[in-house]
Symmetry: C2
Subunit: 396 residues, 2 copies
């Protein structure tokens, strides 16, 4: 089993960027965004105070500029043509000055460069000048979203990874449900499911299984504080709750495969739900199905959210509305475009979205399923497949 992006795929991605560079007359492009670097060469690093970037020349060379501590790590990667390093941050010479020297050494001191940002930025203690401050003769064109826009359409290799992620998300979620019993701590349930899933993934996928990016403990599966009434907060944070009979649970299971994620979320109940819980669960399911029905290529993303909003309207649910219907995903857990009434991007085959309209009832709890869907030539395909009906989501 091979869970690696092929060299042809890297070549395909790179050639889209090179075409754009040619069109704009750029001699090289400096990528500061670490997701873009990973997308173009498969190198993932932990961002800190130390600047790092990839320089893509118009000839297609990929030059990593990294702190000394990342040299061996960057060089392991066969997509990287060359690695240039500086000792440390802040160091005797600022890393941006060293970068200016390196770029000058490439004959690019007066070139037309593209970049996704004016320079490195980090909240982890970094301060420094922008590219044009250290290279005053460079002509700089900022294109912050160049790679983000290419990432919108997933290739067959990417879809295969997201599909594989959804498989393991299903296992992780089954285990989460199995261990969601009264009296257990939130993180006790999450960690048991995480541990068993990890062991199954490694035993099944062997050496080919590697999350590829630093995500802390992967696969992530759990509740993120969405337990009982606290689940009425769509972006709740761990509260170390103990599961109680009758609790609403809102879950997530999003294992990484080769850097890619899928998104599976379910509303579950600890034991038998009450009539109010059944009612809102039913509305939520109806709203999500309304969304599925509206997903088809050639139509604007906003169509999906608008149809969903009509169901909130019909059932008088506006007090319980908190967020739009969904977002694209892939290397990041949220990517553009969005299933939002204000996002008129056209759905195209190869786009992958979460579909997760929710109902959040203060004092009672949250009701949200999230499924990952692929836009196809004719409509959509569900990539996640965990049961969605209430009876099978009661934890007993």
């Amino acid at each position: 089993l091979k869970l690696e992006i092929t060299r042809q795929e890297y070549k395909r991605r790179t050639s889209i960027v090179l075409d754009k560079m040619k069109e704009l007359g750029l001699d090289a492009f400096v990528f500061w965004n670490n997701t873009s670097v990973f997308y173009l060469c498969g190198f993932s690093f932990i961002p800190t105070e130390r600047p790092a970037c990839m320089i893509l020349t118009k000839h297609g060379n990929k030059i990593m500029y990294v702190p000394r501590l990342e040299v061996e790590h960057a060089t392991q990667n066969q997509e990287v043509s060359e690695t240039i390093s500086y000792p440390e941050y802040p160091g005797a010479i600022h890393p941006m000055e060293n970068l200016a020297k390196a770029i000058t050494g490439m004959g690019l001191a007066t070139a037309h460069l593209g970049s996704d940002a004016s320079g490195y930025s980090s909240t982890k203690g970094y301060r420094g000048p922008g590219l044009t401050e250290v290279l005053p003769s460079v002509k700089l064109t900022l294109l912050p979203y160049l790679v983000e826009e290419i990432r919108v359409i997933k290739s067959s290799e990417e879809i295969a990874f997201i599909r594989e992620s959804a498989r393991w998300g299903n296992l992780a979620h089954s285990l989460l449900q199995k261990y969601s019993l009264p009296g257990y701590l939130e993180n006790e349930v999450s960690l048991r499911a995480t541990l068993e899933t990890t062991k199954a993934m490694v035993a099944t996928l062997g050496d080919s299984y590697n999350p590829k990016v630093s995500t802390g403990l992967d696969p992530h599966v759990g509740f993120r504080g969405q337990i009982g009434p606290n689940s009425a907060l769509p972006h709740a944070i761990d509260i170390n709750a103990v599961l109680q009979p009758g609790d609403n649970l809102v879950t997530y299971a999003c294992p990484r495969i080769g850097g890619y994620t899928s998104e599976l979320e379910r509303t579950m109940f600890v034991g038998e739900p009450g009539p109010e819980q059944r009612k809102y669960f039913g509305f939520m399911k109806e709203i999500q199905e309304t969304a599925f029905d509206k997903i088809r290529p050639g139509k604007p993303c906003s169509d999906v959210d608008k149809a969903v909003r009509e169901v909130y309207e019909k059932h008088g649910l506006w007090d319980y509305w908190r967020h739009h219907t969904g977002h694209a995903l892939g290397l990041l857990n949220h990517e553009l475009p969005f299933f939002d009434s204000g996002d008129h991007s056209v759905m195209r085959p190869g786009m992958v979205f979460s579909v997760e309209p929710g109902i959040f009832v203060p004092g009672l709890g949250g009701f949200r399923h999230s499924d990952t869907v692929l836009v196809t030539e004719t409509g959509m395909e569900m990539l996640t497949y965990y049961p969605r009906d209430l009876e099978r989501l009661i934890c007993r």
Copy 2:
């Protein structure tokens, strides 16, 4: 037991900012940096495509501007004076336009504002204009590091949290060592230690235990891929390695308490280490002790790193040098200033640093302890206290 930042402490922090604002004649300050928001009002949110910020008025009011989905979450927090929300991103009206209306509604459309950034930024699909584009009559002064610089000196409450974090880091690391046996998967060991530590923390600290910030599964304890020869990469990434007899291990244990972290890292061995491993371990320990000896208030941070560099020189270890001696930490795992030969910031009582010079031998492995130390009036105090000697770091 109370593990909450007091209102007096929030008041103290806020008054430092207000004084600075007064000095500069600012009518209000817009904070986009979510660590700064958390520092000033204790509200932690998950950054996505949806902009969020806190507006601090010169009168000390803290107004949260958030998407609809965060309203109840923000309002829970008693430090927040007021919550203003917009429906969604991108929505019918861009959230930055709504923010401009809100700021205009506060009578600040032609005011002198400070901000830590020109606007919201995110890699998760957000695009939008800067503050001055939506508020053209505002005078904007950018102060990106205002709160970061205040955070450098930790208060007694912060030090108490970091100390508490170090206690649980010690437990987590003891369990990690206990389970680090040949034949076990990297994440199997990490997750067992994480699970037991979580249960002990909740049972001991009760409802007062809350990581406060979204960090995925906390407490974090593990190896991050630093197993066997791969530990020669200081910023390795999980590889799902199976522990083998003779492996070098480089660990970490950094539980969050009230949002604060400490940093404990150790070099361990799976069974009896060989003579090469003993030799480099000895050098590493000598280098770390050299650093401890140099930490005292009134001296520049660079002194510590310079002394450390002399030991690399003395033993001919430059081939194995990869990074500076350490970094400050607190709310983030890396903060300024740095124990770096180029950082001449003066050490002051209340600063908290990691001390972690390392030796990284390709093909053999990494050798690094990291301890968290507090700069005191007279020298330093170790906050982490896990054994540092080789014999007690052999996993049997």
